[in-house]
Homo-oligomer: 206 residues x 2
Amino acid sequence: MPQFKLVYFDFNGGRGEPARLAMHIGDIKFEDFRFTFDQFPEVKKTTPLGQVPTLFIDGKQITQGNAINRYIGKIAGLYPKDPMQALLCDEIMGALEDVTNKLVGTFGLEGDALKQAREELAAGPITQYLEWIADRLAEQGGEYFVGDTLSIADLKVFSWIEGLNSGWLDHISTSLVKEVAPTLQAHCGRVAQLPKIASYYASRQV
Amino acid sequence: MPQFKLVYFDFNGGRGEPARLAMHIGDIKFEDFRFTFDQFPEVKKTTPLGQVPTLFIDGKQITQGNAINRYIGKIAGLYPKDPMQALLCDEIMGALEDVTNKLVGTFGLEGDALKQAREELAAGPITQYLEWIADRLAEQGGEYFVGDTLSIADLKVFSWIEGLNSGWLDHISTSLVKEVAPTLQAHCGRVAQLPKIASYYASRQV
């Protein structure tokens, strides 16, 4: 196995979290390089395109979160081999990038401008995406996003839903997911209770 | 093989073009459903998340351009099986989505606002991405983006470069690529001369 170093913000969420979780589930050793938001301007200069997460593989730095998710997913046994199932996995992960970009577009706004932008997102695109993602989950039987086993798509949705529910995003109600997409709320709870996920987050609280 | 229908704008470029090209290269039969820009508001209503391209597979409509590219790439023999090579392919495709999003953000602007936004993009992110993509090409030996054979990443870069060179994007100089990233200009020329690509575009001019 190559030497891995994942570079991302020091919080339990965001674009870096699915790969972190996948590596813990797959027992893949890696350096979990975390930095504070204040340190980002310095870290940014060292990345290929000014973005995180990045993944060093034997010293070569790779950018693009979903590319990293997919690669780690493959070596952790969390990415489907079947092209149609892989397509469904990729579709969910790509859609979450799009709606995340919309949220990131509100970072830096303040006061009434932030409130208005976030409320419009919550009522508009976030609700639309939650409903669509819930439909895709239902089409797959309701337990996982691809077939009958956990995949990197489940981890990406889990991490996004946890973010929406966290209260960290001002003007996004922490009950939005429960109200709009209760099956995604239930999915999130099931993923959180997987032994490897539960023990990982327990270890982070020590 | 399933029945395929690709839904995208009626022009030779944009997010739908790599999958079209890959299907022609792989001799994969599909319905090439094209619509005009004026028709988009109506088409939009029929898509999962208001975006194109979409791909119908035996009647099921899938969204997300790069997810579609990757799936078609696999069945056309244009996507690497090796996880590390696939990662490099995905990294390029993901990065191109990001810079495309920046360009799409200028659609709808007019006059001086459009001029300023486009000039800032050309001097800033587009140049940055061109240089980085050229570096990645050089790291792979300079001919293709992944290993020594054509992949869906080459088709995505080709299609993007053709767009930048087309003159269709006001205030983006048609000599920008040649000046900033001559190796990408050369790559674009080589891809255009591949027999399947050349014959396809010749057939479109009839």
